[in-house]
Symmetry: C2
Subunit: 500 residues, 2 copies
């Protein structure tokens, strides 16, 4: 080690040449040292988020904190058929009828619930399940306000190769069976809500993502026939998810199709038996919107005369023209909510359009190949002063973005509704769409400490789930509803299979 | 819309040429459509995390869940001087003495507390503050077990230009004053712990990051004299943080130096007045370790005869050789814990070494310019079977990685201690260092919903902080301790300033 004396000498010398050396250094060390310095700088500031701008809109936003989020509930018992599409929502969409807006948001929140309650954590022993027991679902998510009761959960699987990590996970296998995931639920309006809306409303909500990442490869390629008429064909992958079952799973000894139809029929028979008016409203976002159409097709075939509506959000196309024609002929009413900037409903790759000779035509010009099914409510990201307008694949597709824009939509020619009451913070649940001025963190919807909790020994562990929150298995000996056997016999032969 | 008939015709035609077309498509659409398909695929799978591998080590890890994390506390009252460095930790570090290991981890956890409790959220009205009142800090963080009581918080600022967003934030200004942040705390051992460790131990813990991102530019350039001896110089930026104050701030009308010295002196006088043996142990990580040295230098000058130790983690170099020589002469005992793979303690840029003629020499060959101050405990990421060993700038520097490695360290020639009890999950608090087999999420330490809570109206808002958890301002008329005025007169002239 140099003595103090020597170092001091060096210091002085250095000091004399300070400016010269500094200039010299700036030139000579720009590459290596700069990179090191930048790395270190990033490291030391790793906790610093981007700066937040405060503005008037934040103040206005904070004032809104103390206002209610919901509109008073009005009796729509004499208008429910219009709201349910009896006249294909003519003259109700632009401008958007206020009562219809509230109904759309209600069903949209039922769709969103399938995400909010799903256990996405691949480190969880319960990955792929619903985090709550069906009795508690709406209460946990603050959806009791809508006056519906969840009556059954739906599970689905697909025939894609089971990912290796899932195969190896004995824990997961025990909990849910291979590749079988919570895919949605059936709910029914309670007496009070039924009175308000003029009928007993059965809701089916379908989740829009599935766990194995391989499924996309499978579903994008070919169309398969859905029923006895060869003309009606739907995407292979969607149908696969809807129809697959396997004796080796715990929750998919029967298919999603069988599960949902059994419960819907039970409810329809029960309430019709009591002389009540009954409707079936099927909702879903993205893939969930696609499954909603398959479900509607099957229900319309099995339950002729039942009032069936579909309200989908950002759903891709599902089938060929014949499929959509049949849906129409069966009287299924379809309202598609679409964000103008969302790519999924416009995406050609997700549905291979058989009417086209060349794939390139689709890529080159999307609009003309798009078959509009039912009615469309189109909302625009640019209409909202609260949203970032830059390209955001995820944000444009998010259900909460959809619901925010529906809430603010009056007509295609008017500005965002100033009296829109829905909580803005919800938009950023799982994306980064809100302008920074609102100071809402991005993707904030997540449990404390990503679900870890400190046990009695002070260790951070994933807690065992409350047994009541682990969905009970569908009873053994669950058999097919007889009248379905003929209709889907051929399909089952195609899509039911054993995972070795 | 084409008729079903026509489409059906197309379908058949397409079907005939299916394979041909598919091959054709694969070649022609590989770029544009593939990119679209990939984007969509990513979008639809956005919630899917990487797969988790299960292995034997997870099973072993889960068995550990039900074991205690702490060792029995042993009386070290007759060994405390050795543990505190009276013989410069000779023969205590390799192999590491078990009692010293526990002491190092105790002080490391005091350092970690400065991160765990700091409000990093730039959207928060309280950004830059401690999230808890000082009475509650240890209880909230589960550190009551160590038997210390927090007596005072320390705030610091630096003279770097205030970032624009901070200037504009009236809320933040009201709460904390411009650019003034919670920087650490003073704590003191309670009666029971004092008995166990053989003296009343005063701890100062310094936080290692500061909020304004500009500071790094300032601190990396030049050395400034710390005291009346011109030989002892320290980094300009560190000294700036330690010494800055401004009448326009709420918490830095006095500097961090003045705050900490006032409290330490008060405690020393109080306990010495009762005839007790007293020690001062200063700890910190990264920048906090640098501030610990400045603090130790000042305390040793102001309180000669007091037993002063520094235990730092991943700290950069702070001053020139004369500074370190003086620290040694004043009897300050310094134990530097260093992770072999951590770049910060080796980083040349952060301390401009005046003994060198050319910056390039430092860049080219780091080891020989490194002046070891005090004793060093070097631990190695590769010693732990629980850690990923790939390069991880953040993970290698994290306090929790340090503590995990110290917990597992027996000697430089032996394997990771199988009886190490510290909770492994802690390592991933703010980084991604644990092997996937352990199934601990990365960067999991965060509040539920990023701090948003649902208010009575159902809106998600940042709750107002409990008034008890907003640190009270330092009393008006807070004046300098007289004996300090001479010593730091010149420094204050240099570094105290008004932010107009």
């Amino acid at each position: 080690m140099a003595t103090t004396e020597t170092v001091h000498h060096h210091l002085r010398r250095h000091h004399d040449h300070h400016n010269t050396i500094n200039t010299h250094l700036k030139q000579k060390t720009s590459s290596k040292s700069t990179r090191l310095a930048e790395s270190l700088s990033n490291l030391l500031h790793l906790h610093i988020q981007g700066p937040a701008q405060e503005s008037l809109s934040n103040a206005r936003f904070e004032e809104k904190h103390e206002t209610p989020t919901t509109s008073p509930k009005e009796d729509i018992s004499d208008k429910w058929r219009d709201m349910h599409g009896s006249s294909d929502w003519n003259n109700l969409l632009d401008p958007l009828h206020p009562l219809l807006r509230r109904e759309i948001i209600k069903y949209g929140e039922f769709s969103q619930a399938t995400y909010d309650a799903f256990d996405f954590d691949s480190f969880s022993n319960y990955c792929g399940s619903c985090r709550y027991n069906h009795q508690d679902l709406f209460e946990k998510l603050g959806l009791n306000k809508h006056g519906y009761i969840v009556s059954e959960y739906i599970y689905a699987m697909s025939s894609v190769k089971v990912p290796r990590w899932l195969e190896k996970s004995r824990l997961l296998e025990k909990a849910l069976g291979k590749d079988s995931n919570w895919m949605g639920y059936v709910a029914v309006s309670d007496d009070e809500e039924s009175k308000r809306i003029g009928r007993r409303d059965i809701v089916v909500a379908w989740r829009g993502t599935i766990a194995p990442s391989e499924w996309y490869e499978d579903l994008k390629r070919k169309l398969d026939p859905i029923g006895p008429h060869v003309e009606a064909k739907v995407e292979h992958g969607f149908l696969n998810i809807y129809m697959s079952k396997s004796e080796t799973t715990r929750y998919n000894k029967s298919s999603a199709s069988e599960q949902v139809m059994k419960e819907v029929k039970r409810l329809v028979q029960f309430y019709k038996g009591k002389g009540e008016e009954v409707s079936l409203t099927i909702t879903g976002h993205s893939l969930g919107g696609a499954l909603a159409l398959l479900n509607a097709y099957e229900a319309a075939s099995a339950l002729p005369g039942l009032s069936i509506g579909v309200i989908s959000f950002g759903a891709p196309r599902v089938g060929n023209v014949a499929f959509h024609d049949e849906l129409h002929q069966k009287g299924v009413k379809i309202l598609r909510v679409v964000v103008k900037q969302d790519i999924v409903p416009r995406m050609p790759g997700i549905i291979f359009n058989e009417g086209l000779q060349r794939f390139d035509d689709i890529i080159g010009s999307l609009e003309w190949v798009y078959h509009h099914v039912g009615a469309e409510l189109k909302v625009d990201v640019r209409s909202s002063p609260y949203l970032k307008h830059g390209f955001n694949l995820l944000g444009f597709h998010s259900v909460e973005t959809y619901l925010h824009l529906v809430d603010g939509f009056h007509s295609s020619s008017s500005a965002f509704r100033s009296e829109a009451r829905r909580d803005l913070a919800l938009v950023n649940k799982a994306c980064d769409m809100l302008v920074d001025e609102l100071r809402i963190p991005q993707s904030w919807y997540q449990p404390a400490n990503k679900g870890l909790e400190r046990n009695v020994h002070g260790r951070w562990v994933k807690p065992k789930r409350n047994p009541e929150d682990i969905p009970s298995p569908i009873g053994e000996g669950h058999t097919l509803v007889p009248e379905m056997q003929n209709k889907f016999e051929r399909l089952r032969a195609l899509y039911s299979f054993k995972l070795d």
